[in-house]
């Protein structure tokens, strides 16, 4: 019984230690995000890291309203907490209504979604199947006013 109690106490102490370290990490990450949001540029700058080949990829769901609706559902499930319900941004994630995002090609957005911006706190989303990532891109591009839309080719047949 004593051994059990000792083990449990050690486990509790470890848990406290782990979470303390983790919260410091999270706080640090959050502070990074604050700074990021104030500057309002590093996440958008990551769009420029997309290789040319990735930028030129065509969205197989371009203009597909059903895909945009499915993308909206996925956005709500996976992205809204950081980027806001209406994609307008929060302290944890940049606005996706911004011109830098809305003028990016579908391929660039797909690349960013796939690779994340790990150093800035955005995880990789390649765990979502490729068509689902394109559905999210379709949704994001459906949010833009016509004046901000990128010159993108039509749907791939």
């Amino acid at each position: 019984m004593t051994a059990l109690r000792d083990s449990f106490s050690i486990a509790v102490l470890f848990a406290i230690g782990v979470w303390s370290v983790a919260f410091v990490g999270a706080r640090s990450a959050a502070q990074n995000n604050d700074a990021l949001h104030k500057k309002n540029s590093p996440t958008y700058a990551a769009l420029k890291d997309a290789p040319q080949k990735a930028r030129e990829k065509k969205n197989p769901f371009q203009g597909d309203l059903e895909a945009a609706a499915a993308g909206g559902k996925l956005f709500d499930q996976h992205c809204a907490r950081c980027h806001g319900k209406k994609a307008g941004g929060t302290r944890y994630g940049a606005s996706l209504l911004n011109k830098e995002v809305q003028r990016a090609t579908p391929g660039t957005l797909f690349w960013l979604l796939t690779n994340g911006v790990v150093r800035r706190g955005m995880p990789v989303w390649s765990k979502l199947p490729e068509p689902e990532r394109w559905q999210i891109v379709t949704f994001l591009q459906s949010l833009a006013p016509p004046s901000l839309k990128a010159d993108t080719p039509g749907p791939v047949q």
Binding site: W19, A26, R81, R119, K127, P129
Partner: protein, 293 residues
């Protein structure tokens, strides 16, 4: 007293958390892929393993996992293990503390993640989350009273190699373990898995039973001996089917039926697990301790 305090704290935090996200769980029970917990999210998981035991009593081993995404490249996790051996007793068997670090920023054909774990468990631990070295079925044949008197303090290192292509995920985990007792050798093991969602495209409407919510696959794991006797001699190996059901109501269920591949293995390992992901956990705790809203 301490268990009551912990339970109360956990319950209080659950009620405080109000925003949830849909988990996108991999179906693996033993194998790890390269996907980490999202930053600031806490995933609470419960797993059960029913195992058959030749020459002794069958058992039900169980564990809780608390998995926290500290950053986008670092996930930390605490396990609490226990087991019931039928016609014997129910005991707490120890804890594990693991950390996973993403090594590369971007996605590549193969994505490496470093896994480090410290575990303090007794020989009565039967969750079989890893099968290492010369671990065999007969190790678990003694009574709990005998097994719990032997304590292991181990460090475990894994290289999680994982690749996702056309919806398929393939993960390979070479594993090495060192018991901190100087006389104990380094032990080796492996886990490999492959899985795929049953549908690659999402439907526009919210649904529980649509195929996009299911991920199915197989995994195989086993020991590879130790530095004194490397190889397959006197090792055990398992092949298991795995499936995960990611519910839009924020829960995920996992099922696995594993079969021993040689005479040193338990004949059957049936596992199931349930998990829930709480987004914004870090933020809630930060606010509790006076952080800026």
């Amino acid at each position: 007293m301490v268990p009551h305090l912990i339970t109360t704290l956990i319950c209080a935090l659950f009620f405080l958390l109000s925003s949830f996200v849909v988990a996108q769980e991999s179906p693996y029970i033993v194998t790890y892929n390269h996907y980490l917990e999202e930053p600031g999210s806490l995933e609470v998981e419960y797993f059960s393993t029913f195992g058959t035991q030749r020459g002794s009593n069958d058992f039900h081993a169980f564990w809780m996992e608390f998995e926290y995404g500290a950053t986008a490249w670092w996930t930390t996790e605490l396990y609490l293990d226990g087991q019931t051996t039928f016609n014997d007793s129910t005991i707490f068997t120890g804890f594990r503390f693991e950390n996973r670090f993403r090594l590369l920023q971007h996605e590549h054909l193969v994505n490496p993640v470093l896994y480090l774990e410290y575990e303090q468990i007794s020989a009565a631990d039967k969750i079989l989350k890893e099968v290492e070295g010369h671990d065999v079925e007969s190790d678990h044949a003694e009574s709990n009273a005998v097994l719990r008197s032997e304590h292991d303090h181990e460090l475990e290192f894994k290289l999680l190699l994982s690749s996702t292509f056309k919806g398929w995920n393939v993960a390979v985990n070479p594993i090495t373990t060192k018991n901190l007792s100087p006389s104990e050798p380094w032990e080796f093991a492996y886990a490999i898995g492959a899985s795929r969602p049953l549908a690659l495209k999402a439907l526009p409407n919210r649904c529980n039973l649509c195929l996009e919510n299911f991920v199915a696959g197989v995994e195989m794991y086993g020991g590879l001996g130790d530095t004194q006797s490397a190889g397959l001699h006197n090792t055990s190996h398992y092949l298991a089917t795995v499936v995960a059901w990611n519910l839009p109501s924020d829960w995920a269920l996992r099922l696995s039926s594993g079969f021993g591949l040689n005479n040193n293995s338990h004949r059957l390992l049936l596992r199931w697990g349930v998990s829930r992901e709480f987004s914004g956990f870090g933020e809630v705790v930060r606010r509790l301790f006076g952080g800026r809203p």
